[in-house]
Symmetry: C2
Subunit: 638 residues, 2 copies
């Protein structure tokens, strides 16, 4: 069926099921048919009705109030704030015209939820009030993304309409085939990019970078984006983003710079975290005079076209591909990508970066899927010599490192990614502090967007594990708001921290020490053996972190614009159980207990021989076909 066929069919079903409906418009937005109605009664039954129609039509349907029957946003805002009682602690209000909802953020939602105020708001404004608890921390990113999306509402609506037309394009006749092409992040860690193409469509999963900043080898930064399989970018139908780390999200804006105009599918927290990290990348590159491959306007282009899905929610993303995202346990919003191709023809799961263990932040990665013929899985820690500490060991190691360093009146420097590891280390330090396992006078400084990233976690509690979600929602119990944490937001504050002779813990980015404020602290602390550099995350080949971890006795860094050699006197310690990646054992358990067992496993996202060796290992263990593709290779799946 074509676009128009679907719409008139939907109208027919509607008229049959609900005669006399006051439908004013019926249209596609993305893969969803949107029905606007002036009938308030119908509006109240919309969920049941939509489900009923969707079942007949095999398309998603949403029913929305016709804008003409609703109070304009300014008047509605005024009216709502009048109706909310003072003691409910009004914090914020925003409108979602897509659903006809007015989202009202309150400190004490229960005061309104169990009252007639809701009915009153509805009848006076015709918006449906949705009462939510005000996020416990303020995130500039969440706020700005929300405002930006409101500003581009009209363009976005048009974009979604056009996408809807494309998604109902009839399939080309002829032989069906499915291919997977490795464009980056295969047999390496960094610049992840994998293309899935069929005889009908092209979907790119991730588009990351290696943040090398080496002007002598500029081509190593990006995946192989210039090959014909993916050129021109207008030939791409969809981009799916597994998570916000720049090695997966970093070059999505580049696609828009060079002509891509389609959607990005991801979770809401990934959308926000990616915007945060991408904007920071642009800012840092500008300030350090590095070659920069896109501008912040391209990040906005991406935002404008991002379609968010919740975990386990399914959407048609091309005429022959259906997408579902599943929790991957790696960082906030991180997802495994499940692609259902054709009508029951073939299913692929791309794990993204993943952790198959319950962590202080998240539930373990999901490994049950409706179907899965092929699994692509990461192998960051699948090497022979990779350590696989438990989280208890990681906790104890970190506590021990702090105590030993403080005993010597030294300072502990911990390089972290702003997103993921920072929050876990914070939770451990706060727990240890509360349980008096580290000194009472411990102060923890957070430099490099860590607080902002933490606030984004607090804005999406449904993506955290249950214990943490409950803690966060009670202000006094929110571990991220503990008085031991101090955010470093200015150069002056940073200098003060550096000049402060007392013992302290510093969490600073970048996590692999290839840039960022961590280098300033490192240069200040490196020459005393009383201090400790503590690694809590993966250090990739070629990074400064890896070199130091490997025992370098000195390193050369730029100091006031000139190369300076620094002898490493400070202690170097590892507390690796914090990793957001599965250990080798966890990867094997993930595969061993996965349902259904895939027929073919592709291994990617591993340094050196890890992909290849892990592929051999799981072939031997499970007897399934395994492949470790090289970048620029294409494998046929069907």
């Amino acid at each position: 069926m074509s676009f128009r066929d679907y719409l008139s069919e939907a109208k027919n079903i509607f008229d049959r099921l609900y005669p006399g409906n006051k439908i004013t418009e019926i249209d596609y937005e993305g893969s969803t048919i949107i029905v606007y109605t002036k009938d308030e009664e119908l509006f109240s039954k919309r969920d049941d009705l939509a489900r009923q129609i969707a079942q007949e039509l095999r398309r998603r349907i949403a029913i929305r109030p016709d804008p003409s029957i609703m109070l304009d946003e300014d008047s509605a805002s005024k009216k709502i704030q009048e109706l909310i009682p003072k003691d409910a602690g009004f914090q914020d209000l925003y409108f979602e015209p897509d659903t006809g909802e007015a989202v009202i953020e309150l400190d004490e939602p229960s005061i309104v939820t169990n009252s007639d105020i809701i009915k009153e708001i509805k009848s006076q404004t015709n918006w449906s009030p949705r009462i939510v608890r005000a996020p416990p921390m303020y995130s500039r990113t969440v706020k700005e993304v929300r405002e930006y999306l409101r500003d581009v509402k009209k363009e976005r609506k048009e974009f979604l309409h056009n996408l809807g037309v494309k998604l109902t394009t009839p399939l080309m006749p002829g032989e069906t085939w499915i291919r997977i092409t490795a464009l980056g992040g295969h047999r390496e860690v960094g610049r992840s990019a994998t293309l899935i193409s069929t005889n009908n469509s092209k979907v790119l999963v991730d588009c990351g970078m290696i943040n090398v900043n080496d002007p002598e080898q500029p081509w190593e930064e990006a995946p192989y984006l210039y090959v014909p399989e993916i050129q021109p970018f207008t030939s791409l139908d969809a981009v799916v983003l597994t998570h916000a780390h720049l090695d997966h999200s970093g070059l999505v804006p580049l696609l828009y710079k060079y002509g891509y105009e389609g959607p990005v599918y991801t979770t809401a927290p990934t959308r926000d975290l990616a915007a945060l990290l991408q904007n920071d990348y642009v800012k840092v590159a500008h300030s350090e005079g590095h070659k920069i491959s896109y501008e912040s306007k391209h990040i906005r282009e991406e935002l404008k076209r991002t379609i968010t899905l919740k975990y386990n929610e399914t959407a048609d993303i091309t005429p022959d591909i259906r997408l579902t995202l599943y929790n991957a346990g790696h960082i906030l919003g991180s997802a495994a990508v499940h692609l259902h191709i054709g009508e029951g023809l073939y299913n692929i799961v791309l794990s993204g970066d993943q952790k198959y263990e319950k962590t202080w932040l998240f539930n373990p990665a999901v490994n049950r899927f409706p179907r899965a013929e092929t699994l692509m899985i990461e192998s960051t820690y699948a090497g022979r010599d990779d350590y696989s500490y438990t989280r208890v060991e990681a906790y104890n190691t970190l506590v021990d490192v702090v105590n030993r360093t403080f005993d010597k009146h030294g300072t502990v420097l911990i390089p972290v990614f702003a997103v993921g590891r920072s929050q876990e280390v914070m939770l451990v330090l706060e727990d240890a502090y509360r349980n008096k396992l580290i000194p009472e006078n411990t102060r923890v400084y957070l430099d490099g967007m860590i607080m902002e990233a933490t606030a984004i976690h607090a804005a999406y509690p449904e993506y955290l594990n249950r214990e943490l979600r409950e803690q966060i929602m009670v202000k006094r119990a929110n571990p991220f708001l503990s008085p031991i944490f101090h955010s470093v937001d200015t150069k002056k504050q940073r200098d003060d921290v550096i000049d402060d002779p007392d013992s302290k813990v510093i969490l600073a980015t970048a996590g692999m020490m290839n840039g960022g404020p961590v280098l300033e602290y490192f240069k200040a602390l490196v020459s005393s053996e009383n201090n400790t550099l503590a690694f809590v995350g993966y250090q990739a080949d070629g990074t400064l972190g890896r070199r130091i971890q490997n025992g370098a006795s000195s390193v050369t860094l730029s100091e006031n614009g000139k190369s300076t050699k620094f002898d490493i006197k400070m202690n170097v310690e590892n507390a690796e159980g914090f990793s957001g990646h599965s250990t080798k054992k966890q990867l094997i358990n993930f595969i061993g207990t996965m349902q259904p067992r895939p027929q073919r496993i592709l291994v990617n996202h591993g340094d050196g021989d890890k992909c290849y060796e892990f592929a051999r290992l799981i072939h031997a263990k499970f007897g399934v076909e395994t492949i470790s593709m090289k970048n620029l290779e294409t494998t046929r799946l069907y």
Copy 2:
């Protein structure tokens, strides 16, 4: 260096080595620098001088007489025919302005070669006479190709000039990589097409078809030519053709129809044979009302842009790829493709179809190469159950089949490819006849371009093995001219052969019985057990030949426009030692004695599991990495 740089450098070297040269023009044609001079003395030393300059410049150079000093072709032709003595047996004369040569075909070259006539021709016309023996058989194809190329001389010169400019394009900086993409003929026999791409160039080796003529599955006819790796065709830099069989050459004209404008590199006999077979394909498809994917004008487009290489001759075909063709022993002009990529970086050998055994026609396939990191090799007969008769057994079987059938007053029908197997069967029958091993009254009818294909063999004696080359050059010894052979050229003649009740041998195309005159004979002979159908070549999956070979008791064919069932009463016999493909043992010997031993072997051109199983076998035997790619897959070689 750029185009202009090379030319001025060449001029400088010239002026230094040969001051006062009368150079009138210096330009590129393809990968060769052409120098035109009015200096007749220089012209006579041209080969030495060209070699000297080529060594300094590392580019090929050819020196040609300036056209203004040469007699026009008509006057020169008249003059030359006056000067040639009657008893030399003048046959033909044509001019090659490219080299300034007048090629004179004589029955008795020695009469002129050892005389002053050569000097006389030269001084009176300024053309360099080249005396050759007149080909012993007349080939319309060779003649027409030669005439066509003369007609499009100007366009061709411009094409070669533009190609020269492209070939001197400086290389793009950046990472070097080499990929191979399977577009057809991998894990199957038919529609061979393999793409080699580097960061700088794209070369397609072969572009064949599966001649299915099934309107229900039109997409099975062609390789996967619509995928982005090879689209648009203007992005291709070069096409290399291994040999003339339509499963390798059949869709090269299609590339020109859809925009390709670059060169085809192949041997001269392959150029002519491919034109013969392609034109026949177009003619037959038209006459049978089949869907046809190109017209004869596209065959001419191909011819115009074909650049021929002799075996072992090397040419730059892109700025980073150098091509050498080596004898493959399969059919006339068949070649293995050796690609040298970068300056000593990487070498690939693509075997094409090949025979590693000396046959009645050819020397065995070459398996010594200057370097070869990767070998791609066919596996047509590499299956577990494939027979591997010796040529002596094939000879004896065929003689036996003829005698047994003639004893019963029956007729022997042999389905053959016009090119290759026909000529071998002819040589065997002629030898058996001469040695009185088959009846004295044996007549052999040849239907379906067999005589024309045979004449092309006679036109390129240097591509045949030495014994046959020598036989052909002596008119009375030329086996192809034996009185037992009778060409069937008209419908009337065919009907006469069919109505003739006497015993005879009929060689008719197509070789796998999927069309062609063989079907007419088959329908006439099938119902008598006195007759014999003798297979001498490979019958691919899905062909009528394969079905009959597998023991079908009846087949349904179109007779006077309606489907008719034919019970198979005639004997079906196999005499497979005639195959132009290596047996499994020969393939293994080819690899085992290949110098150098390749590090990686790709197996293609095999039905069913043959590619995969032969890859496993040679991996086990030689310990090298082996791959049997699927169509649509890409492997990274470097």
